[in-house]
Amino acid sequence: MVRVRTGVYHDSVSLMRVSRTASALPGVEVAVVAMATELNLGIAAELGFDLPKAGPADLLIALRGGGADTLEAALAELDGLLAGLSATPAGGAAVEHPPHTVRAAARERAATLALVSVPGPYAFAEALDAVEAGLSVMIFSDNVPVEQEVLLKRRATELGVLVMGPDCGTAVIGGAGLGFANVLRPGPVGLVAASGTGAQQVACLLDHAGVGVSHVLGVGGRDLSADVGGLSTLRALEALDADPATELIVLISKPPAPEVARAVAETVAKLGTPVVTALLGPGQDDLTVATETALRALGAPVPAWPSWPAPGTAREHAGGLRGIYSGGTLCVEARLITGSGEFTDFGDDAYTVGRAHPMIDPTLRLEALAEVPPGEVVLLDVVLGHGADPDPAATLAPAIAGAAARGVTVVVALVGSEGDPQGLNAQAEALNAAGAAVFTSNAQAAGHAAEVVAGIAR
């Protein structure tokens, strides 16, 4: 059964949830509920559905299963789920007449910033609306062309606002967590990060040490490239310097382009606020060491980072190391520390075209985990917080147990704070009970994995 609904739009994450629920309905074997993009049409065609003409503005529903009546019943159920997506809980004019663009929203209602997570090709228009309305904007979307990023950031500089992103995974502004955001105590450290998971790692370690953050400003992974020239990094550094709540700034990035590094160094030298720089690269401090440096700069004690050693006894390891990551920076850091192994960053743009980020949708990582042959060591990250999978251990723990049963050693870097909605301890214990060694420091997790491979630790 194939249906095309025109004039209906839902975002891909919401539709993925509906698809998942629909697949579990009685009598349904295969369910595809998605906007009819080229990619999704391709997926449906591969599944053997005969498709009518449809475009990205149409909603595609394709069901297969036992009998026409069953499918009709499933379709009715599905329509209920879709209707539920459109219903908005609160009352008032905003609900009766929701704005259709950021421009209209900014014109009609008070706001201090915008959060843009529409598909990449459409993000530019919404982000530009925000900038032109005098609002800072976080662009969660990836696959945004670099020339659009440069244009947005130049316009933002003219208008005195900040563009965070594109591909900015996390930000914390005045206590509000945006995107993938951990629940952090308020405090004196301001973060500027060209990397979402890097910022999450540092902020969570600070939180474990009892030190809070003022703001976390993401700038997007390309900001310190020669093309973009660090436009947002420079602006974010200056803004945190002017912020009375910020006593220390931590700047997190991959090594910048040389000319950009010079501009950043010049700006840092002019600031009144001390800056700790964590540049991920060969010969540089890892994020855990950088966090410890920041703690010492504040005169705060450095604690032992929480970890949960693997249960049971050591095994013989004939195989190598695989890194199955969702966070790009965490992946790079782990690769630098282990010095060997086969690492994949499933959060990379190449894996997220037309699909949700692996912190939301675990499918690809679970598949990768299932394929690890016996004797190998697997290193993976689990990132908690708002926006992320509400219970990652629910799907990961059985997969880890399965891997462990095959003789695979699993090491987990668990990035989260005690306040996160998933519950740090509960997640750690579930993953640990399934057989994984769990570390809150990614650097320590990577170090441990390397030692296991080298046969000097279990």
Binding site: D11, S14, A94, T101, T112, L115, E126, E132, I173, L240
Partner: protein
Amino acid sequence: MTLTMLSGEPEVITVGADVLGEALDLQAVPRTRVDWRPPMPGTEADLARVLADPRRGRANETAVGRLVSARPQLVGVRPAHEVLDLPRGTFLHAGPPIEWERASGPMRGALIGAMLLEGLATDAADAEERLARGQARLDSCHHHRTVGPMAGVVTRSMWMFEVHDAEHGGTAYCSLNEGLGKVLRYGAYGPEVLRRLRWMAEVLGPALQATLERSGPLDLRALTAQSLQMGDELHNRNRAATSLLVRELAPEVVEAAPGHAAEVLRFINGNDHFFLNAGMAACKVSADAARNIPGSTMVVAMARNGTDFGVQVSGLGDRWFTGPAGVPDGLYLGAYGPDDANPDIGDSTITETAGLGGFAMAAAPAIVRFVGGDVSDAMAATRSMYEITLAEHPAYQIPGLDFRGTPVGVDVTLVARTGLLPTVNTGIAGRVAGTGQVGAGLVSPPASAFTTALTALAEAADHGNGSV
């Protein structure tokens, strides 16, 4: 260098994945959710190019600023041959340019009437044959600072409202409204139609001209603002505006044309739409003030010729972007039905171009039944037009929306982004020449008129400055 978002409580606009917005709800962070959907198919590349044009923001500010600051004044009523370049055998018509071969029934009917009125044909059959042979020269009203309702046919002997923009100095023209029923603008050309047109040229026009000479300029901006507050939207409802016009002019008509005062006033008073044509000229002169601003994506004309719906854009000079005119959805007079309807026709969409008509529906709850809806539809129609417009009119306000200004200045990029097409109120002409009006309702312009304009804007943006 400070960032305002770092001080004070965060309030967030979210657009995209609901899961990220819900995360803010869990943190009790106030937020406004954007009901986003993908733009019109195939427009994203053009949109990115046009939005990136550094001229756009300021150009649109200038364009819409000129549109809403215009001060249209009715300064005179004069024969077309005096004020327009209109030699014998040349006729103006509504909408983008069209030739006889492609003209619809009502357009052909009006052109036949024009031939007869000007004495260029002996009868309808003769007129039709001459028109088919190309003996008349046709041109778009819009090319002559002129607008005409429905078929909008203007001949040299007709008398025209002359409207002057006291702010920017422009002038625009529109013919005098003939009333309802069998009239030339709906394609009727029978003897009573021609008799009325001759009376308008011999009696009505000169009387109004003498009247305006006595009264001096009449402020149409003020009159329009008052009429909106009295329940007109100035396209399909002009009852308040016509009444106000009569109140203003009546004493002067009596003094200026004592011999004809009664018949002139009776004629105006008998036609609730008499003001429409003066209002259209006012909208035309306002929109023309916003033309030719390089980089501007604002629509300065929407017009239909009964076959094509066309738009012109400030940053693109006099080029037309067209698509097929749709058949309005509405109520029909007597036994007429949708099968009798001609596709959308007329320059009266200049009212929507200037933020009136369908855009001001919320001001005119009395007509919503007429155009097939209820009051909440009217409110929703106006509200949705704020999504695709650049500004709110400072003088034209809607009491029912807390005196919010009407949405004004259609932005081609916002139409493409939201997929919302301008809401147009309109009369419906019969499709057979000579039938006249068969109904009234709402009509949607073709999306292709806006997407082709967007493509042209993208090309102009790439060429940078001086593309007009």
